[in-house]
Structure formats: C-alpha cells, structure tokens
Amino acid sequence: MAEAQRAPLDLSFTQRFHFHGGLRLEVCPEVAAARPVRHAGIPARLILPLSQHIGEPARCLVTVGERVLHGQCIAEAVGKVSAPVHASSSGTVIAIEPRPVPHPSGLPALCVVIETDGVDQALGDSTAIPDFRQLEPENLLEQLRAAGIVGLGGAGFPTAVKLEHKQPIELLLINGVECEPCIACDDGLMRERAVDVIEGVRILRHIVQPAACVIAVEDNMPEAEQALRDALQQLDEQDIRVVNVPAIYPTGGERQLIRVLTGREVPSQGFPADIGIVVQNVGTAAAACAAVSRAEPLCSRIVTVTGDGVRSSCNLEVLIGTPVRHLIEAAGGYADRIERLLIGGPMMGYTVNTDEVPVIKTTNCVLAVTARSMPAPPPPQPCIRCGKCTEVCPAELLPQQLYWYTRAASYDAAQEFGLFDCIECGCCAHVCPSHIPLVQYYRHAKTEIWSQEKQKRAADIARTRHEARLARLQRIKQERAEQLAKKKRAVTGKDAGDAARQAAIQAALERVRQKKEQSGTTPRNTDNLTPDQLRQIEEADRRRRNRSTHGDDT
C-alpha cells in the first residue's frame, strides 16, 4: 500500500469501524469472580520448555545438578527470531529431558526441570535502568531481547523482533482487549498494575517513536479503563490515550482491533507495520517495564484459571514453568470430574491430556470444563452450504470453500481462497449447524502445506547434492582418463613410429631368446636323479606321446 494513498489517522479515535462478521459471545459466569490477582506461590518443581516462542528453540546453558538462581538465564536465544529462557525461581536442575508441554500435539519437548528450594534467591547483578529515556532504542531492544520477552497475547513472537521496523510508525496500539470470553488476565493486570502497564507503554513508545499511542480496552471493563486513566494522571502522561471498543469476538485479534480503531486493513500475508501500526499486548508492556526499570527477566505472568471444573475461578500470577496442576490446586482443586482441560479459551483453546504440562510465556488461560458446560460435539453432518460461516468470518473468507478444498486436499486452491489469512478464531465452527470442526480442517491444511514445502526444500537440497556428486564422479573419471592417456603418450608417443618400436621390441626379445639358447637348453633339475624319478619321467613322456598321437588321430 503506497504511503500517499493512505488517509491520515483520525487521532481523536471517536469513530469506531466494524470488521466483517464476528460474534457477540456470552462472558462465562465464573469469570466475574476471577478478578483479583493472587500469587500462585512457588511450586516444588518448575518445568521450563526451551521453546516457548515462535522461532528457533533456545539452547540450554545449564547442566543437571547445577544450582540456578531466580532470573538466571538457563537457555540462550539461537539466531534472531528466538528468545532466551530464565529460571523463574532458585533451585537445582534435576533433569534436562523431553516432557509434556502445552501443545495441541501432546508431543513431549526438551525442558529444563528445576527442583525449587523455596528461598527464591535472586541473581545479584542488577542492571536496572531507572530512567529508560537515557538509553537509545537499540539498547532498550537489546534489554527486552535479553529479558526473553515475547508477545504475551498468545502468539509468542519475540517482542524485540516485532518492534524493529523499517517503516515509519504512525500508531502504537496497546491491545488490552481479551483474546476470548472467559479470559480475564489482561483485565486483572490493568486493574491492579496500571502504572506498570503505562510505564511499559512509555518504554515501547520510546523504542517505536510513533506519532500516536493508544491503549484499547473493551467497553465491558470500566474498572480497568478507570485504573489506566488514574495511572496516566498519576504519571502525568498526556500523550497516551485510553479508548474502549465494543466487546465483539474476536476484537482482541490484531487485525480486527486495527480495523475497529482506524478503519485500516492489514494487507493479506502482510504485517501491521506495513500500514504504519505496531500492536503490543498490555502484558507485554508490563513485562517490558519490569525488564527495563527493575531488570527482571520474564519469569512470571498472569493466568486466568476458570471453567466449571475448578472450585473457584481466579487470576493467578504464576511463575513460568509452574505445572498446571499447581494452578488448579491454587484455584481450590477440581470441582467435579472434568471432561476436558484446555489451554486457552473456549473458542481457540486446545485440549491437553495431562495437568503435568507447565505454564509457558504464552499461556493466558487454563480452562477446566465438565461435560455439563462443554459436552462433546455431536457428530458432524454434511455441509448444507447455508453460508452462516461466511457471515461471521472476521477475515472475510469463504469458510465453506476452504473446507471443501481442504477435504479434497486441493491446497493450492485453498491458498488462493486465503487459507493463510484465517486467524483460527473459530467463529465459523461455532455457528455451523452441521457441527463441522471447520477450524481443524484449516489447521490441518496449513500444517500440511508447511510440511509439503519443507519436503520440497529437502528434495531440492538432495537434488543439488546428487547432481554435484554426479558432476564430481564425471570429473574424476575424466581426469583419470586424461592421466592414463598422458602416461601412454609418455611411453609411446614422441620418438619414432610404431613400426620402429615393434622392431626394437622384437630385437630385444630375440636377444633374450638367443641368450637362453647359448646358456644351454637342459633344465637344471634333471641332473642327479634317482632311478625311480627317471622312471617316472619316462612314464610321463610316454603318456604325453601317446596322447599326442591319439589327438592326431582324432
């Protein structure tokens, strides 16, 4: 999109635009009680996966048996799109091994397991920066990178990478809209730590240098909005605005929020920075504040524990690596036999098979549900092409077309219909009268396309290597042939012709023969023979003669 074509931003933000579709979902009844943020305490064991972000997994820096302190870097970033991992409490490393992690596959991944000592001894060397304005944006970015900060809204993209941009940024948009109904972690954070949030926003603003800076909250969280306004007043901050947006799911999505506030559309497969906007989650802002002002790496986050499967829903401040079971216990334990344990909300969350999985940087909600509130979905019926999915799709896609193409494994066609613009919000599946698990089809198609692309890259490498090998073998063969020819030329070639050479060889052979004749023809070993041996020789000679005469006859 060309710079000139873009209309200037309305900095009053009085107008609200609409994105296509979306749903007005009921807020879970339990969530109201979840508001105050409590500390979940230090669990007996912390399980820290080396990959809690998008990008390369971190490389482990500790060994089994080593004592680690709170805030110590235990795994370093590998490459640019990666993030380090820090010990969230002090203790001893008891294992570095694959453990179940919060992931829809249920596959284990490499984790550092720390047995905590309960002391929570912190790392001494503090590099806290009381006034971040003294630092250049690059130094602040380095600080955020070293603190292992990733997008806490859900995707886990390393924040430092997202903040580095080449385009000039008009708007820094701080996303305080909850991802899904039932999740209240951002609400709790803004109510109780508004000053941290505002301070973090100032740091992000100092890095991004935007023309304007806005914090967006939902219109159903007036307390959070008020807390932010109070904090702005307290810090005497004039240039950050707090606005509210209607609570329509999925306004918490980056693209949808941009649409609602600015009316702009992020290009397909593009980034918000392409249209001069950077979006960051409020949790990320608070983490940035802790990393810069207090030199605290990302060691904890706020997680909503809810669902009718837990006794008392709550917002907990949880150390990264705390097993989910510990959270459930902090929420009063299971209320009933639970049907499913989800990481994330009711719309986009995924089921995990065990409560041994740890909370990672991107975990915003743990949802324990019974069969009563979330019964198993009825068996899917055939698509009747009613078009309801199209009406609610916030990405303006044609979900049923994507469904048909995915089912037929026509991935090219699915991509043409914008498969990769799907944000997997689940609106289409939510309204589908045939109960088709549409999102799972799209997720399958996306991962299948990635895996085919990966295979294609591997095949290209194998082809290059094979061709290089064939070329090398050919070259060696040619070189050998040339060398052989050269040797032959050295022996033959140059002086005199073939006939002269043959004559010389013949002459030499003749000389040898003559020499042999002169030295006598009798073999040496026939002297001094015993009569017995002589008889044997005679017999042998006779046999030979007989055979030769016999042979002549025939």
Binding site: S51, V101, H103, P104, S105, L107, A109, P379, P380, Q381, P382, R407, A409, I436, P437, Q440, Y441, R443, H444, K446, T447, E448, W450, S451, Q452, K454, Q455, A458, A459, D460, I461, A462, R463, R465, H466, A468, R469
Partner: protein, 181 residues
C-alpha cells in the same frame, strides 16, 4: 490475384522469420517436461523405480517409457501431482517397486564400523562422511532414506531409524469424517 499471392507470400515470409528468430532466441536446452517431472519427484535417488535416480526416471516418464506409479517414497501424493502435471489419470502405486513408508534415515553403529568406505561410495547424496580405516557417520539432515548404503556394508553396521515427529514438524490431523461426510 497476383497482389494476393504477393501479400500472402510476404506475410508468411515475415512470420516465418519471426518464428525462426524466436526458435533460436528462446531456445530451451533441456526438456522442460523432464524438469517439471523431476521437480515433483522426492529426490530420494533410491532407484526403486528401476532407474538410476530421480532424473533418469523423470526422463523416462517424459519419454513415455515409464509409468507414473513407480515411486514408493513419493507415494500417492507424487502420483497425484504427476497425474495433474501430465493430464493423465492417477493410478495406485505399483507394488512391484515397493510400498510407501514413512520417511526413515540410516545410522551407522560407530562401534562396529570398520571404515571400508563402501557406504560412502553408495550414497547418492554424499550424506556419509568418513575416510578409509576411520569411522564413518551419516549426516542425518542430508540423508534421503534411500537405504542404498545398507547392502554394501560388510559388517552390517548400518541401521534404519524412523524420523521422529517434533513440535516443529507436527501436522494437525484431518478431522474424522462422519458416515455422511
């Protein structure tokens, strides 16, 4: 009459020249069909198709000498892609050439390896590293799983190992279809 003949004659001469020039200017050395077919093959170089590698098989397909269902590592996906490219009906994999299996790689038991270099000579993608009378090892990331190194090994120290799925290459399963699907 004469004008018409001259006009048409001149026209055809001009067009002929243009076509002749285009044939030289846009000449393609290799057969584009062979390249396109080769691009769809998995490049395992295993020879299960009875040809000496993926490219010879691609050449045979392009020449109409080989069928599209002779590549076990590619399986149904490759057959489908080849059928789409060549505009023919897909057919099931010919069992004479083998069964489609999940990708594997090989591993050399380094305690047993005697350093004979025979496997190095057999590897079509130079994925085995070693020197005479020194231990050899497989560069796992480059191994195509063709298993051509296994028969030459005099001490049977090369083993097939499955490639483990990790979080990074895991695929969401396709939802189970109902009876009405």
């Amino acid at each position: 009459m004469l004008t018409a003949i001259i006009a048409l004659g001149v026209l055809s001469a001009v067009i002929g020249l243009i076509l002749g020039y285009a044939a030289i200017r846009f000449h393609v050395d290799s057969d584009p069909v062979v390249d396109q077919v080769d691009a769809l093959l998995p490049q395992t170089q295993c020879g299960q198709c009875t040809y000496a590698g993926c490219r010879p098989y691609a050449e045979a397909i392009a020449a109409g000498e080989a069928d599209i269902n002779q590549c076990p590592p590619g399986g149904e996906v490759t057959i489908q892609n080849l059928a789409n490219l060549l505009g023919v009906d897909p057919k099931p994999l010919n069992p004479e050439h083998g069964q489609h299996k999940e990708k594997t790689v090989v591993r050399i038991d380094e305690q047993v390896c005697i350093g004979c270099t025979l496997c190095i000579q057999a590897c079509p993608v130079d994925a085995i590293l070693g020197a005479p009378k020194h231990m050899h090892t497989v560069i796992t990331s480059e191994c195509t799983g063709c298993n051509l190194c296994i028969p030459p090994c005099p001490v049977e120290c090369i083993h097939i190992v499955p490639v483990k799925t990790t979080l990074r290459d895991w695929s969401w399963p396709l939802p189970a279809e109902s009876a009405h699907g």
